[in-house]
Amino acid sequence: MIYDICIVGSGAGGSPIAYELSKAGFNVVVLEKGKNYTEADISKDELAVSRRDKFIPMLKDEKHIINEIDEDGNLTRFDGDEYNWNFWNGSMVGGSSNLMSGYFHRMKPNDFKLKSVYGDIKGANIVDWVISYEELEPYYEKVEHIVGVSGKIEKHKFLEPRSTKEFPYTKLFENGVTTWFDKTCKKLSLESFATPRAILSENALDRKGCEYSNFCGSYACATGAKGSARAALLQKCSAKIIPEAFVYKLDSDEKKVTFAHYYDKDLKSHSIEAKIFVLSAQAIESVRLLLNSKNKHFPNGLANTNKQVGKNLIFSAGGSGSGRFDFKDLSKERQDELMQVGLFFNRSLQDDYEFEEDGKKYKGGTTDFLFEHQNIISRVSREFYDEGGNILWGDTLRDKIHNRLTTSRKLTFEVFNDWLPTDKCFIGVDEKEKDKFNTPVGVINLYGHPHDLEVGEKLAQKAVKVLKEMGAKDITYSISSAPPPNLVAGGCRFGDDVKTSVLDKNCKTHDLDNLYVADASFMPTGGSVPYTWTIYANSFRIADEILKVIKSYTNPH
């Protein structure tokens, strides 16, 4: 059988295309390396999900090689298996969107023209996007309705222009501490706002609303309220999904991809023939597949004539911090509010999304606030040491754990700012190391531009100020170049110039007529927000383009 569309990877990048094309009557097949779970399979089992990483491959079978590059160009090599360091996110139908917290922010208009608005930064490959915010806006709006975004529009300095007045779903119920937070921000002349979430606040879209069952981020959702690619899109369309299918090679002629070859769970090889292929296996894996698909027409790897595949890998820069609220400083009423679980702490600050210093405009970012994750084993384990760094045990440890966990709670924050693209941060494949599929493993070359740290530091200090003013104690934060593995983009940037980009404006590869890349790989810069909403929106945009193309030569079935 020849499919109309073959999609490799079933996360936020591939699923909107599967949804739109199958709804339009085309034969769509989705190849996904992980298993296919339904809501009935999902539970909040900390041991399985968080302690033993149920949803990522075992590193002895599938690992990464990681090269850290410092400012002087010195390289340190880490074998991911040996150092327990990996960039896997969620090997399952729906990908890592199953496990996201669903903090949904749109990119701002100026994020699409970083170079024009803020200028060059030495050592960074900053470019403007080849589409504008205005072109993507209808698709952001589409995601709000199809995937489901809840929230409340609150005017603030950097609120992006919208084609609709309000979110389609009202905001989720919030923990009482948000009122302390809002008052504090007002006092500090900051504009706090409710963080939009890809979580349904009511039954809708043939899915259940949020049941506030605790344990949201890092866990799949058992009600279907979270807008994962699986619950929101793949379960709502007729695209054929083949789980436990690892695509190890794409074949091509000079102009077109012809076959995708995959191994099933028993390592038996199969092939899929299709008219159009879409890669959406997450930035690192999509690049790896292209580089591992060399042939006589493309000796550097597919779509890599100009050796751009893998370049300009980016993450979300920034870091995180926290402060502790202690019962002894609070009224009984506030103590009760503090300990409410299940309810969300949805608050964000974007006052410094752009800032000025010495008369020059700089790009800043977003700070999201949330309570420390409820994972009990992790929280208890963080109490193993005293303030002097000495390990505790026995009754001393028992008392510390009991006191900390029953009479205090940590409010945390996450800073998101641009990870500037550079020549030193890129994806490759290893010439010797192979995974259990006998396929060369991905090599991640890491470098964080110093400017990223300066911006992150500025945002973190503002967050610390808020926590201090709220009365939090034990405030700490860390801004670093450590890359968050769940916030990865770039590697196949889109652009008009074939010499400096892999994809055209519509995310079709410059080199091949029927190969698209629809995950976050296309992003030349990442904005200062989590990526998922933008990935979804862009994928709906690509779906429209593919529909135009395919309708020009094939009728729906």
Binding site: I391, G394, T406
Partner: protein
Amino acid sequence: MINRRNFLKAGFLSSSVLVLSGCELFSVTTPIQTIKILQYDLFPHAKKLGVNMSKYLQIILSHSRIDEDEKKHIKNGIKWLNEEAIKLFGKAYIKLDSLQRQKVLILISQTRWGDRFINRMLTYIMEAVFSDPVYNVSSGSGWEWLNFKTGLPQPKEALL
């Protein structure tokens, strides 16, 4: 009588640990003998909560996601703990009285390996204490102790 499957499961915990005194072989012990005592030296409250970490270790250490290196670290820790006990008091760890055992723990906690070994053991203890009742190791008494409300739905079957 131990059946074949349980024997295989318990294999690592029942394997021999050679304890040296200087260059001489002092005694032979097993990880489980030491762990049964050590767990309550490190977190006596687990006994009150009715949680037995050695039972949990039998489950977790036979799981495919625990690699051989992890088992090696545990075995080395047991060996070195016993060797420190011999150095200090001339007896294996389990032969010491409670006060002596605490002195050994204080001593090793000031070394890098000792700190890591205690941390590793405490981590397994906490995994046992706060595991979902579906694992049949804790009844949820740890959660009650900390007024903790777990996420829902709870697992219907043990996934490890």
